[in-house]
Amino acid sequence: MLVKIVMELEDVPGQLLKALEPISRFGGNIQSIMHQRERKTPLGRVPVMLVFEISDKARMNKILNELRTMGVRITQLGEREGAVRSTVLLVGHIVHTDIMGTIDRLNGIRGVMVSDLSLAMGAPNKESAARMTITAGDEKRLRLAISTLRRAAGRKKLLMITSLEETE
């Protein structure tokens, strides 16, 4: 999901950097930063508008809590659904068991897209590994995509490794 926040920072060096740290630490991907020096508050604070992408609400809340703990005042908060994603690893005979068919099936779910695929071939006759990023319009669709992939992995005897945040 995309999150837009406006926060007020003290006008001393290093404040912006400090405020960005929790965002990257919890896996946020910053898309834009706008420093609004001309709109300084009466207390001398500088509003900064920030847009970042984050995988889920839990992580967004962690970031916001961290910022508040640091004493950063958040004056506006808006979130836009549209990009929840999850990364999974697959281990097994991936190519021989028709990975394209699996991707087609996932892409066939409305609002779901396999947005990234990296393949690492093992030695001959050894298992290979793949990393797949699934992007979905909302959490519900993402869950559906993951359980579809889980069933396919079961049929094809692939080991599927999900993120710690995924529950079965």
């Binding site: 630490r25 990364t87 298992e127 290979s128 080991l159 529950t167 079965e168």
Partner: protein, 336 residues
């Protein structure tokens, strides 16, 4: 306090050494004087109503059975020792048997039936019959402590049951096996293949000669079973845990994870309705992304939200921290 030690392997010896080293500390701080009146191993027993000389016993046990101690008896079995000797506490420290929990299961039951408190690190009896032992202890009016069975030195169970007592525990998950964590960490930091790191771990004594229980995730599943029973109040047995091991994790898989800012950890998860163990993607910097042989356990709670605790999950000295803690706790609760 009069104490019987059943099992005198690494853990038993480690604990005996701590009793010697910390004798002054225990007496001055807690008024606790642990008199070990009997020690049994698989070949025999050493006994002395007035307390064994543990330094001497440790020396004897370097090469021989404890039965070689002055006045010791070959062929004197643990069960007889538990029945015959007057004691307050029995430490059950025999190896884990996940099939039927024996011989620990019988040792623990006999100790309780003869009115002795039990402290154990043995996962076998707990994964086979947690509920039965828990209610037997209550029926017999004795204390039953097993802090050392999960997380080694980390006070996982007591933290949850005592200090977090006001919380509803929604989930407990963790990296609970030092051997597999060492292997996965080395694979991730050095890019070394699984088989080579496993051999290295065996040479260092981090992995056992037969590493099946660790690698296949069964040791972690045992701990998840114990946590489910002891802190979530779920009547679970080992076979209720869905287990996947780490034997299929390749260097390629680890590299792909790393490129996405993640590492692979063997994680056990216990929550109402789901008990599972398997490799999971964990972001670098996540509290569970601990390295080497470290363990980490994370609680999800209604009031405190999240608490993670990290430490050493194995080793005789580290585990003694929990074994001794249980004894001091019984001493403080009941006196004596």
């Amino acid at each position: 306090m009069r104490i019987i030690l059943i099992g005198f392997g690494n853990l038993g010896k480690g604990l005996a050494r701590i009793f010697v080293d910390k004798a002054d500390f225990l007496r001055k701080t807690y008024g606790l004087v642990p008199h070990v009146v009997a020690v049994a191993d698989e070949r025999g027993a050493a006994m002395d109503e007035n307390g064994l000389n543990l330094s001497k016993l440790l020396k004897v046990a370097e090469k021989k059975s404890v039965a070689a101690y002055e006045g010791g008896k070959r062929g004197k079995m643990a069960l007889e020792v538990i029945e015959d000797m007057e004691a307050d506490v029995v430490y059950e420290l025999t190896p884990t048997n996940i099939k039927n929990g024996e011989p620990g299961f019988t040792h623990i039951k006999r100790a309780m039936l003869t009115g002795k408190h039990v402290i154990t690190s043995n996962k076998g009896p707990l994964v086979v019959a947690f509920g039965e032992l828990d209610s037997l202890a209550r029926k017999c009016g004795v204390e039953f402590r097993y802090s050392a069975s999960v997380g080694g030195a980390i006070p996982v169970i007591n933290l949850a049951r005592r200090l977090l007592a006001g919380n509803e525990i929604r989930e407990v998950c963790g990296v609970l096996n030092g051997t597999t964590n060492y292997i996965l960490t080395r694979m991730s930091t050095e890019g070394v293949p699984f088989e080579i790191v496993l051999r290295e771990a065996q040479e260092l004594g981090i992995a056992e000669k037969d590493p099946t229980l660790d690698i296949r995730g069964i040791d972690t599943a045992c701990k998840i079973t114990i946590l489910a029973n002891s802190i979530l109040g779920i009547d679970a047995k080992l076979e209720h845990v869905k287990v996947t091991g780490i034997d299929r994790i390749s260097s390629e898989a680890i590299r792909l994870a790393r490129e996405a800012g993640q590492t692979i950890k063997l994680v056990g998860v216990a929550r109402r309705g789901s008990l599972e163990v398997g490799p999971r993607l964990v972001p670098f910097g996540h509290p569970l992304a601990v390295g080497g042989t470290l363990n980490a356990v994370k609680f999800e709670l209604d009031l405190a939200r999240e608490i993670t605790i990290t430490g050493f999950g194995a080793g005789p000295q580290e585990t003694s921290s929990s074994l001794l803690g249980d004894l001091i706790d019984i001493h403080r609760t009941l006196g004596g």
